[in-house]
């Protein structure tokens, strides 16, 4: 299957029972991800523990950070491989749970003191159900735009990649970098 077709077909939720009545995430194409990051005033990339076991994800985050200058909040221990590759995350010790709680507070100044973020991009979480819960909190209790570029479709993000097999997934990530 080509990448284009993968983004056009109906996608499944990572868990068919994780259903809500509010709108499910719109499928987002890599080029649009890149555009949204570019247009955002205060974006942040939030990384998860899968980076500890997937060098290609680390490569991607390093390149995206270099290309966009977007701040990285590293959770789940993902800071270690990123720091080894020269990325300095703006936060390393706060779990995704903490970070989501902070994001739901409109008065939070962000880790850089510039105010709450207007766009949060999520990548590399070992547990899709964990990210799903956090995206649900952000959907209902915050105004932050959320994009999941994980391998599973995340219904509670505002925008999400569809489910992608391994090859297509890395192809999609590379396309973000190419824009």
């Amino acid at each position: 299957m080509s990448l284009d077709k993968a983004f056009e077909r109906v996608t499944r939720i990572f868990n068919p029972a994780d259903v809500q009545v509010s709108k499910c995430a719109s499928i987002i194409k890599p080029k649009v991800v890149a555009t949204m990051i570019k247009k955002s005033k205060h974006p942040v990339l939030i990384t998860g523990g899968k980076l500890l076991e997937d060098e290609r994800l680390v490569d991607f985050v390093v390149k995206l950070h270099e290309k966009t200058g977007m701040d990285v909040i590293a959770t789940g221990g993902s800071s270690r491989p990123l720091i080894e590759r020269g990325v300095e995350p703006v936060a390393t010790v706060f779990t995704l749970h903490y970070v989501t709680q902070y994001l739901t507070d409109p008065n939070w100044k962000g880790f850089d003191g510039k105010g709450n973020y207007d766009l949060a991009v999520f990548i590399g979480f070992t547990a899709p159900y964990y990210l799903s819960r956090m995206l649900s909190a952000l959907k209902h209790f915050s105004r932050v735009n959320t994009i999941s570029i994980c391998e599973y479709y995340q219904p509670h993000a505002k925008f999400s990649f569809p489910n992608l097999n391994e090859d297509l997934y890395y192809e999609a990530l590379n396309m973000i970098l190419e824009v």
Binding site: G49, R80, T92, V93, F94, L96, H97, T100, T126, A137
Partner: protein
């Protein structure tokens, strides 16, 4: 005249038709003045909850964004909209959290009631609660909440009367049209959590006192643990659940008939732990996630179920394997006919012949004979089959796979079963199943959706059989309470911080990854000489975590409540000994009165005792309730990622400086403090993250400089080891240069100066300006006004 009151009735001769009935009489000597909140009702500790909730703001992650509990609905509540009754999404989520806690606490309370009722019948109300010479504070939770010092089993009935009444009152508040603030529902959840610890304590001290379990013994026997420990040459009785009564009767029957070496008695879940406390020759097969593994293996000759955490398809699964089932609980009667009062010979024959797939035997004292006789007869008739399936069947099953990946999407862990299937199908290599097995909780959801009907769980287990069998080790039998003498020894170092923390690894086996990760987390802290306490499924899985020589952590670390000790307190209900231990520290070391004095003790614990829970695989409503009870007591918990499905966490915001303050009893001032701990319930994604969070959440405002130095040393070292850098917030916990790790002092002072703008006197290497507050050796923090007023003699103008 002093009347000697006893239960019973008095007839007054002069008033012929008047009878005065005296119910229960609890004789209480004046052992301690009564505190402000004995037998607290729903709102009595709301002021304490509001202190906690002000700091630790509830965080909601909805599973659903609708409510369908009444007929005005279903109502769409997304984006915090209000439903037809006026409730908003946050409040509805808080309401569901209360419901979860109620389910959990009711389970323990009903369990306690059953035990106490049974024990009163068997041993009488006057049976003493004797937990051994070294346990004088026998029931710290009961003393603290209810306000009595129970001396007999009969005294516990009154405690349960109170708990049951409160649980019903809270349940009432969940009806449509009640609370409109999520904070009020959170206060109720905290109330239920507190009651849960009381009920658990009642259950456990009753069974310890009556059944002569280990009484705080650090050298409680080691018991065999793991899927591979069963002697398959003997009939096997497998007992599943949480209530020891039927299991005890089985053990007694075997002994009475000289059969104790002829039949294997093995347990799953907390019944396993409590059976080994009664008889260390019994064996622990494993946790909840081993239920389907054990049944599908065909190894048991009879399965006995009691209550809680038993798969709801146990009878169906056992029937497929030809294993008779004996249900014993009103809570889980499994659709079986009640044959409690029938002739055992007939029941045994029906079960052995297969005429009956199972029976309900409500009297635990009748279970032993039937279970033993059935096991022996079934074993004789059925012989032994290959576990799970034959090699030929295994190959045939994987050939059916089309790679549709429905199994992956239904798996709670999204395990790549499809990849393992295709790998086996195309290459004949089953190794990928062995990679999956340690994470698989054997829930069977994958089989429900497989269009080809592949027996996926059996395929995974058959492919991993050697691995499964080799996961054996030794657990230490649950020792019950922590001794008062142990508390005397460690109370001061824990409060001062020189023992860096108490890590309580408790809860269920719904881990995010392989079971081994739990052992890795715990061992990190044992090596660093934290005290590690454990219970329930975590305690069992630690028994299967072994080194190259096959030794488990229980064999490598002492069972004492001391630095570097690994303490298995027992089953779920024994968690009350962990909350009891932190309560006892306040009572024994700090001489704080316990009786009906909840808020003062919880405040003491929150500010001084670096105890943190680790529920790495929590799944149940009981776990929700237990954790919430710890939270009200001032003990934070780190949970695994599945626990975000409980929907609610308590997470403070370190940057909101106005939220981080205490009254200092010494200086008589309200002063800012460091955000320690900054969460009461928070999730970690990976073991690396969990380890760092645990060390971080052990920090307390009242740490001495030496204690803070030790805690910061561990926190910083662990952050560097697992996160690759200094933690973001270490500077928040620095009050004086003496707080800093000695080896890093110059480096850290430089960072404080360069990155945080602190003023440093480099000649004397002293901090001149920068910390949230100055260190004061006499610092005596409290959040509670009446505690401040009690110890200063001054009124706070509110």
């Amino acid at each position: 005249m002093v009347m000697d009151l006893r239960d019973g009735f008095i007839v007054l001769d002069e008033m012929r038709n008047v009878t005065i009935r005296i119910g229960k009489v609890i004789e209480e000597d004046e052992w301690e003045p009564m505190g402000p909140t004995p037998k607290p009702h729903i709102l009595d500790l709301r002021y304490w909850d509001q202190k906690l909730l002000e700091r630790y703001e509830p965080f909601y992650a909805p599973m659903q964004d609708f409510c369908n509990l009444c007929t005005m609905g279903p109502c769409e509540l997304s984006h915090n909209k209000e439903g037809a009754c006026g409730i908003d999404l946050k409040t509805q989520k808080a309401r569901l959290v209360v419901l979860a806690c109620l389910i959990g606490a009711s389970s323990h309370t009903a369990h306690a009631r059953h035990l106490v009722h049974y024990l009163v019948e068997k041993f009488g109300r006057d049976h003493p609660i004797d937990l051994g010479n070294n346990v004088n504070i026998e029931a710290p939770n009961v003393r603290l909440v209810f306000g009595i010092r129970p001396k007999t089993i009969g005294d516990l009935e009154t405690v349960l009367d109170y708990v049951e009444q409160e649980l019903v009152r809270v349940l009432h508040t969940l009806h449509t049209g009640q609370e409109e603030s999520y904070l009020d529902y959170e206060s109720k959840a905290l109330h239920v959590g507190m009651l849960d610890h009381v009920a658990m304590e009642v259950a456990d001290i009753a069974q310890v006192a009556a059944f002569n379990y280990p009484k705080g013994d650090p050298d409680a026997p080691l018991v065999e643990t793991g899927f591979g420990v069963l002697d398959l040459n003997k009939p096997v009785i497998l007992i599943i659940g949480h209530n020891v009564l039927p299991a005890r009767n089985i053990v007694d029957y075997l002994e009475e008939h000289g059969l104790e070496n002829e039949v294997e008695v093995a347990g799953l879940c907390c019944t396993a732990i409590d059976t080994t406390r009664y008889d260390p020759k019994a064996k622990i097969v494993g946790t909840l996630s081993f239920e389907l593994r054990a049944i599908r293996s065909g190894i048991p000759d009879v399965v006995v179920t009691d209550e809680q955490c038993i798969r709801a398809d146990t009878l169906r699964e056992c029937s497929k394997m030809g294993i008779p089932v004996i249900a014993t609980s009103e809570a889980a009667s499994r659709g079986l006919p009640d044959r409690t009062h029938e002739n055992p010979d007939v029941i045994v024959e029906d079960l052995v012949s297969g005429r009956a797939k199972g029976v309900l035997i409500r009297d635990p004292d009748k279970v032993g004979e039937i279970a033993v006789r059935v096991a022996i007869e079934v074993r004789k008739r059925k012989g032994r089959k290959e576990p799970f399936m034959s090699e030929e069947e295994l190959k045939a099953e994987v050939q059916k796979c089309t790679g549709c990946a429905r199994c992956v999407f239904s798996c709670p862990h999204n395990l790549r079963i499809d990849v393992a299937m295709q790998h086996a199908k195309k290459k004949g290599d089953f190794s990928k199943f062995r990679e999956i097995e340690p994470t698989c909780i054997a829930c069977g959801r994958c089989e429900q959706v497989c269009p080809k009907g592949i027996r996926i769980v059996d395929v995974i287990m058959k492919s991993s059989l050697d691995q499964l069998k080799s996961k054996t080790g030794k657990s230490r039998a649950g020792r019950g309470p922590i001794q008062d003498v142990e508390i005397r020894k460690v109370g001061q170092p824990i409060v001062m911080g020189t023992i860096p923390g108490v890590i309580a690894a408790i809860g269920c086996p719904n881990y995010p990854r392989a079971r081994e990760e739990l052992g890795q987390i715990v061992e990190e802290f044992l090596k660093r000489r934290y005290i590690v306490v454990t219970s329930g499924c975590h305690a069992m899985d630690l028994g299967m975590y072994t080194d190259e020589e096959g030794k488990s952590l229980y064999e490598k670390y002492p069972g004492s409540f001391d630095a570097g000790g690994l303490v298995n307190v027992g089953s779920c209900v024994a968690n009350s000994h962990i909350s009891g231990a932190v309560i006892k520290i306040a009572a024994i070391f700090a001489q704080r009165p316990l009786r009906g004095n909840y808020a003062e003790i919880a405040d003491y614990i929150l500010n001084r005792i670096g105890a943190v829970g680790l529920a790495w695989g929590a799944y149940s409503q009981k776990a929700a309730s237990i954790a919430t009870g710890f939270n009200r007591l001032g003990v934070p918990a780190v949970v695994g990622p599945h626990s975000t499905k409980y929907r609610r966490a308590y997470i403070g915001k370190y940057w909101k400086k106005e939220k981080w303050w205490v009254y200092d009893i010494k200086s008589k001032k309200k002063i800012p403090v460091e955000p320690a701990p900054d969460a009461l319930l928070v999730c970690a994604e990976t073991k690396e993250e969990a380890i760092v969070q645990l060390a971080r959440l052990c920090i307390r405002p009242a740490d001495t400089y030496l204690g803070r130095q030790i805690k910061l040393t561990h926190y910083i070292e662990l952050s560097q080891k697992y996160l690759g850098c200094l933690p973001d917030d270490w500077h928040l916990y620095v009050r004086t240069e003496a707080d800093l790790p000695v080896k890093m002092r110059d480096q850290l002072l430089k960072i404080l100066e360069d990155e945080h703008g602190w003023k440093i006197d480099w000649k004397n290497k002293k901090i001149l300006e920068g910390p949230i507050r100055q260190y004061d050796a006499g610092f005596n923090p409290t959040l509670v006004e009446h505690v401040y007023e009690k110890y200063t003699g001054e009124k706070i103008i509110r």
